[in-house]
């Protein structure tokens, strides 16, 4: 998708502090961190939001969680705890219209 910042990061057309990458997923530090550890884990495939996941995307979405496990361990929050969140639309403050998982850790995080 032209003009999608996360597609650009996946394609190396925009800089990001990448902490993990494979053929289908890229993970990088959020530039406006809300917690000591705040990583975005993103499908390279452009999916608008969690509200746009289709049956053929199930296994890819599951893959995000395996990446999250690895990243949480590397970032030192696997034992202390972390939250994995997907924001959809206005009320959840979705800013970039490309499916992404927030991994937040390193402090106590209220649910809502």
């Amino acid at each position: 998708m032209e003009d999608c910042i996360f597609c650009k990061i996946a394609n190396k057309e925009e800089a990001a502090e990448i902490v993990y990458e494979d053929e289908r997923v890229v993970a990088f530090k959020d530039i406006y961190p809300k917690a000591p550890v705040h990583i975005l884990i993103v499908t390279k495939k452009h999916i608008h939001s969690a509200n746009h996941i289709e049956p053929e995307d199930k296994e890819l979405v599951g893959e995000l969680f395996l990446v999250a496990k690895k990243v949480a361990k590397e970032q030192g929050v696997a034992e202390t705890g972390y939250r994995l969140s997907f924001n959809v639309g206005r009320d959840a403050g979705q800013v970039v219209d490309h499916l992404h998982m927030h991994l937040l850790g390193g402090k106590k995080i209220p649910l809502a």
Copy 2:
């Protein structure tokens, strides 16, 4: 798992206000809602937390998102927005040690 409240709900040994169910997934209202819409979407298979998802669970975890899409629509928050969150361990306030997705909507929800 004996003594797991979400396994008991899945097996109909404990009551819950169920809003969706199929062979592999059950969704019900959180008894301590943190938002006007607060649904828990749970795998019937006992998985301890997102930190315990294995490669063979990927497609099942993806299935949770397809259920979330349906439930968000039925609950009237698909357009206004919602957050899907998985809590892992102490810092994220995981209370029940059985993989569950929180679907939160109906108000503005801060990320962290």
